[in-house]
Symmetry: C2
Subunit: 300 residues, 2 copies
């Protein structure tokens, strides 16, 4: 399973970066191959200062070895070995009318001292962070998520949409990071669903990504914007940074497993602002977004 | 003691903000008085878009009530009440030749259910974060710290300078946030030093702040800079954000005690950049700074 999934995310990285370069039309991804001293490594691909994408990364990694002490405590196990691989992407568009997107699909195996698999699961999800809210974009993104989930089980979308809203919650701001999508974790074999079923589910989700995001990029990138819109985008990006550095388990996992800092923190936006006690004007488009973030909506 | 120290920091806030407004010459501090639902409150003063200061805050707060659960676990106590007050300041200058400064001086009391003081201590410190390194500025800042400490005990500077270097260490970047200063905590009564001695020490440190920082501001603010210098300042500010959101105990304390978010996060810089895998040019002034941050120096 680990080889099959690692092969899949390598191919998916190629598919996604090729399409994004085509959409951007100006710059190509810069590739860095890196090794983790304790085992494994990754292939980081970053795009910067494009026509469409101000900054973004589509990274894969496959790491293995002894489970670090902090992760042993987290999982409540002792002296275990692990393998983890996944694809992580974050895209920060230049035009504030185009939403930021994040996705991550991953697979985890844990071994005893004899090398037997003692636990294994899939996890991941994708979510959208708009700066200006176009309801039809939210509906489009969530529709693709729902259609893809429904092929496997018509209860999955509702469950994973709810978990996504719960996970990407900036507790100290009492608001969501964005308008959600899917979030799933610890997807393990059950009586009704074996690991291969989960593989097929995650693969179908990964394959649906470009359809969920690219039509929105193409539609909104042609809209005009002013420096006022850009300021708002940069202020909201500050909330994105706050979530990733204060709350995000993926970021913490990377730091705890001696991950490659530049690959982990490629998720941080290029230009960010913090203003003291900033509030959007009453009745403005900016305020409309914040209201939706305060109370997650049902989109489909 | 709590009334005496709270009065002191109120007066010190007035002294500092008055002087900073005089130095800035363009904008005044905006004041917000706030209340904490569980007890206490604060007086936040923020400056933005000044001639000299792009953003900064000089805040005082005095909070009390039941010790929040997370803090009980942290201190290893049960059902305690507390009082905490302090002054916190962060100044982000516009000119990249002028360093950012941070300071915090605070007093903490813990009570049993009958209201008896069961523990009390002072804490605090101040540290400098330059974007371009002028060794004479580092020496000036540290000299004022040392002279002030030496009046009380000539072992204090060395101890607190070392703690400052250890505390403001961005572990995930393996570099210091800045060039240090002083950091002290849990300053409690001992056979040779009672709480009043500690009060006098902290007061002297607080009183020395303007002398340690303002001469540097005046000297460096007249230097010319380009957009390249500004970019570097904004990239380094990214490391400041990383430290404050990932590692800083003061920020976490604020979030855990239901502090006022805007007062806590006023420490975040106004304009920040993150670039993928950015490294300064070999032999440049930017590289010279990074080398000093990798290995804290003895300045005096």
């Amino acid at each position: 399973m680990k080889d099959k999934f690692y092969q899949y995310i390598q191919d998916l990285q190629d598919t996604i970066t090729k399409k994004l370069e085509e959409v951007d039309g100006k710059v190509a991804f810069k590739e860095d191959i890196w090794k983790r001293p304790e085992g494994g490594g990754g292939r980081t691909r970053v795009i910067e200062n494009g026509n469409v994408f101000e900054k973004g990364g589509v990274n894969i990694s496959g790491v293995h070895g002894e489970l670090p002490k902090s992760m042993q405590d987290y999982f409540g196990v002792k002296d275990a070995n692990f393998f983890a691989c996944g694809l992580s992407l974050v895209l920060h568009p230049k035009n504030p009318m185009v939403p930021t997107v994040h996705a991550n699909w991953r697979y985890f195996e844990m071994y005893d001292q004899k090398g037997n698999i003692v636990d294994q699961w899939f996890g991941g999800g994708q979510d959208l962070t708009p700066y200006y809210l176009f309801e039809e974009d939210a509906i489009h993104f969530h529709s693709i998520c729902k259609i893809t989930c429904d092929k496997h089980d018509d209860t999955l979308y509702e469950t994973y949409k709810k978990r996504c809203d719960e996970y990407f919650w900036n507790t100290h701001r009492n608001e969501a990071r964005g308008i959600g999508g899917l979030f799933f974790d610890y997807c393990k074999a059950t009586a009704s669903r074996n690991m291969n079923d989960w593989y097929n589910f995650v693969k179908e989700i990964g394959d649906s990504f470009l359809n969920s995001y690219i039509p929105i990029v193409i539609k909104r990138n042609s809209l005009a914007y002013t420096s006022k819109h850009k300021d708002w985008q940069e202020i909201r990006r500050g909330r994105y940074v706050e979530f990733n550095l204060v709350h995000d388990k993926g970021t913490l996992f990377g730091l705890r497993t001696n991950g490659r800092i530049e690959s982990i923190l490629m998720s941080l936006p290029p230009h960010v602002q913090w203003r003291y006690d900033h509030h959007p004007e009453k009745g403005s488009e900016e305020e409309k977004l914040v209201q939706v973030l305060k109370e997650p909506k049902t989109w489909v």
